[in-house]
């Protein structure tokens, strides 16, 4: 029991500061980087557009929790859904904050950062390209068409008589950061709790036998990522303790799949996309990440070369 508490607390002390940084940064960007600006800089060609969208996360280091409302606004403003989805899936992974926290957590095996970034990049390009070839353009759910493009009403609840709009924007941003802490923090706490519980109650040998079979371990880690719904800035700390027992491919699957899909953002996706499209998207993401992770398991030398494993 005391050991459980020590491990639980240690994950929180380690990961919560990174979530806090993310909350402040994302609140800032949410208010000061207009979606129009993103639309203007995106290339018009399909593949270059997808690739450019993949690297937007470098400038917009957002957690997956903040992505769904933003892509809804992007699609409303006329950005093709496949570009918006490429952005949604890549930004929570291919961004400096996540790379840094992954590096901290995997300081014993820094190449994991490259497995995560490169694996995610390939997955997103494949997923977005497949979506771009499908004919259905009307992907938003029917109620969406009439909905306002502004997600949380952060700008609408400003009093109109405010004479300093910068001040009110700043205030909205700071208030938003507080709410974000609660929106994201609870998933982190639940995830840390489950991780600490698994660490202190399930013997490693049980986990080990589970981690040996390539197919089960990749699928299992993806399922684990889906269930615990931890923010992408903190999930590396939950995966790192498994480094000794799980294959690199299965840990990469956890790190790539978790930010793309989990319980909380699947629910959010259903609120904006048609149910059938959501289902297709979920299956497509799952199959693609599973396939890429399996190549890491079955062709380890290839990936070791790509990711500079010594």
């Amino acid at each position: 029991m005391q050991d459980f508490n020590t491990i639980f607390l240690s994950i929180i002390i380690e990961a919560l500061p990174l979530v806090l940084v993310g909350v402040f940064v994302s609140a800032f960007i949410h208010l000061f980087v207009p979606a129009e600006w993103i639309q203007r800089i995106l290339p018009r060609k399909r593949l270059t557009g997808i690739i450019a969208a993949c690297f937007l996360g470098l400038f917009l280091p957002l957690c997956e929790c903040g992505m769904v409302p933003i892509i809804r606004r992007l699609i409303h403003k006329g950005i093709p859904p496949y570009i918006a989805i490429a952005f949604m899936l890549s930004a929570p992974i291919i961004n400096p904050l996540v790379a840094w926290s992954t590096y901290l957590a995997f300081s014993a095996f820094p190449s994991m950062v490259l497995y995560r970034l490169i694996g995610a990049f390939i997955a997103v390009v494949i997923i977005a390209f497949i979506i771009s070839t499908s004919r259905d353009r009307l992907v938003l759910s029917s109620g969406e068409a009439a909905a306002t493009s502004d997600c949380c009403g952060h700008h609408t609840h400003q009093p109109p008589d405010s004479n300093s709009s910068f001040q009110s924007t700043l205030r909205a941003m700071l208030y938003h950061a507080c709410d974000d802490f609660f929106d994201m923090g609870r998933f982190l706490l639940i995830g840390s709790f489950l991780a600490a519980l698994i660490q202190t109650t399930v013997p490693r040998l049980t986990l080990l036998s589970f981690g040996q079979d390539p197919g089960y371990s990749v699928g299992g880690m993806m399922f684990f990522a889906f269930l615990i719904s931890v923010c992408s800035q903190a999930d590396a700390f939950i995966a790192a303790p498994f480094l000794e027992h799980f294959s690199t491919g299965s840990l990469a699957a956890f790190l790539i799949f978790g930010p793309m899909l989990d319980i909380k953002n699947t629910a959010m996706l259903l609120t904006i996309f048609k149910p059938l499209f959501t289902l297709k998207l979920v299956l497509l993401i799952t199959a693609t990440v599973f396939g890429i992770s399996l190549t890491m398991v079955y062709f380890p030398q290839l990936w070791e070369v790509i990711c500079f494993v010594h």
Binding site: L16, L174, C178, Q199, V202, H245
Partner: protein
């Protein structure tokens, strides 16, 4: 003037204050090194600072009447999610931090004794033969213990001393026990027990979880089909638990 406060905002304020207190508590107890690698203390300090900032913002937000009246936000956090925050605070503030013990060691399994990747290390220089005893300390624990497992033949006959807690892995022979320290590379969540088997005729008198100082000669023995290093003890001295019980992996 009477200001009507929103209950939810007040609750959030209390939770934020609680978390600031939790971070402050953890940063100021000696137990900090039992929770995270000393390298990441700045990280916890950053977290504490940002929590304080959020607490102050939340204080303004709670008192801001316009926001409370006009807020169209649908941050539907739900009552249930506060239980998660409050439960964490109760656990973190009331249950004292204690170093990990042999119960967790047996859940995690000893480093090197199971299938898995061993991070290769460059072998440390062997002490000159006339040197009477090689002292394994917190600073060189990781380096030497790894070397003993990777190249146990090279160290046979060396006199060594080491400290750690007593732990008995499954199927430990009657005359043996294991002396380990938890090895931390980031935080307590990644702790792995690392240490050596000890051979000692009176090993049954040594209680698990007690701390001991061992003096003896290195040899090898067969454990579940693996040739592992073992210390043939000449002296086993009970000691008080060390103030910094873990050893830290340097990156």
């Amino acid at each position: 003037m009477f200001i009507k406060l929103s209950g939810q905002n007040l609750l959030k304020l209390l939770v934020l204050m609680g978390f600031s207190l939790l971070f402050y508590n953890t940063l100021t107890t000696p137990g900090l090194s039992q929770v995270i690698h000393p390298q990441f203390i700045w990280n916890a300090k950053l977290g504490f600072t940002l929590l304080l900032v959020l607490t102050i913002i939340q204080m303004f937000k709670t008192l801001d009447r316009r926001h409370n009246i006009a807020c169209g936000c649908h941050h539907k956090a739900g009552q249930l999610s506060y239980i998660v925050f409050i439960g964490t605070l109760i656990l973190g503030l009331i249950v004292p931090i204690s170093p990990l013990g042999s119960a967790t060691a047996s859940q995690k399994g000893v480093k090197f004794m199971q299938a898995g990747t061993i991070v290769p290390v460059s072998l440390p220089v062997l002490p000159a033969d006339d040197q009477p005893e090689l002292a394994i300390t917190a600073e060189n624990h990781v380096k030497y213990v790894t070397a003993f497992y990777e190249n146990n033949a090279a160290f046979i006959g060396k006199n060594i001393s080491l400290e750690g807690f007593v732990y008995r892995p499954d199927q430990t022979p009657a005359r043996h026990f294991f002396v380990a320290r938890f090895e931390i590379s980031c935080c307590a969540a990644d702790a792995v027990p690392s240490g050596l088997f000890i051979e000692w005729d009176d090993s049954q008198t040594i209680k698990s979880d007690s701390w001991v100082e061992i003096h003896g000669k290195l040899a090898t023995f067969d454990y579940l089909g693996n040739k592992l290093p073992v210390v043939k003890a000449t002296q086993v001295i009970p000691i008080k638990p060390l103030a910094t019980p873990y050893v830290y992996v340097n990156n």
